[in-house]
């Protein structure tokens, strides 16, 4: 196995790219995809540590993260569709009605 530091580095880079996507893009769907990327980076590290410690618990947690991601995508895309119905756009800056 390649040493764990490389996996930590790769996971951190993917997570940071996802964070940048959430912060810089204004398309709601791209923001959602960036969140998926961040969840994925965490999953990769779970599996890498599971391999390192020879413990299956890490792999099981990946399942739960996947389930949460699937639920989040279903609800999130429904929200995006609802926002598009009312605003006719999915630019996240336009959906600021609740802003104080």
């Amino acid at each position: 196995m390649v040493s764990i530091e490389y996996y930590i580095g790769l996971s951190a880079i993917l997570f940071i790219i996802g964070t940048m996507g959430v912060l810089t893009r204004r398309n709601a769907i791209i923001i959602f995809m960036s969140i998926e990327l961040m969840l994925n980076a965490a999953n990769l590290l779970f599996v890498a540590f599971a391999r390192m410690f020879e413990a299956l618990g890490g792999q099981i947690f990946v399942f739960f993260v996947m389930t949460v991601a699937a639920a989040e995508v279903a609800v999130g895309l429904a929200l995006i569709v609802a926002v598009f119905r009312t605003k006719q756009t999915i630019n996240i800056d336009e959906a600021s009605t609740l802003k104080g």
Binding site: G18, I29, N43, A50, Q59, A71, V73, V75, I80, V81
Partner: protein, 172 residues
């Protein structure tokens, strides 16, 4: 250089490159396709790390179900681009030919050198198999497993309720 490290670096470059492609692409459909490439690369990492069952689930759930949902919503809303301006890809056809040749070479290596290439994976064979994962999942993590069932049910109902078209009553 160590063969494992070489494979890791190649895969890491593809993963980071596709993530950056997803981040920078103006067109949401291309972003989604880049993300699918990223998920496929991560699935290969899972196989390397001795988690074949996770890798298969990852491809089915993420690259299969979730990204199809994304693409469906993108095309349903016609939300490919927020701003105008299209880019042309004249280099796509030659790039496709080169990548297809790479794929052919990979298949050749996989089919004819499988005994030597996959020797290390075979040593890991009984770590992340469906049997072992299932045994741990249904013995040690049974309660979280049941809770995720409720989570999925709640998400399903929530998605249906939120995305439903609200009909105004004729009286209002």
């Amino acid at each position: 250089m160590d063969a494992n490290l070489t494979v890791f670096i190649i895969l890491a470059v593809v993963a980071i490159g596709s993530a950056i492609g997803m981040l920078l692409n103006r067109n949401a459909v291309y972003s989604a396709l880049f993300l699918i490439l990223n998920f496929a690369t991560v699935a290969v990492f899972y196989i390397i790390l001795g988690a074949p069952f996770i890798a298969m689930t990852h491809v089915t759930v993420y690259a299969g179900a979730i990204m199809v949902l994304f693409l469906f919503v993108i095309m349903l809303l016609g939300a490919e681009e927020l701003t105008g301006g299209t880019t042309k890809f004249d280099w796509q056809k030659p790039a496709a030919v080169v990548l297809a040749l790479f794929l052919l070479a990979e298949l050749y290596v996989v089919i004819f050198f499988r005994d030597t290439v996959f020797a290390e994976f075979r040593a890991l064979a009984d770590f992340g198999t469906p049997q072992n994962v299932g045994r741990v999942l249904f013995n040690d993590y049974l309660l979280p497993f049941e809770i995720t069932a409720f989570l999925l049910l709640a998400a399903m109902i929530g998605a249906i309720v939120i995305a439903r078209r609200v009909r105004r009553k004729p009286g209002n």
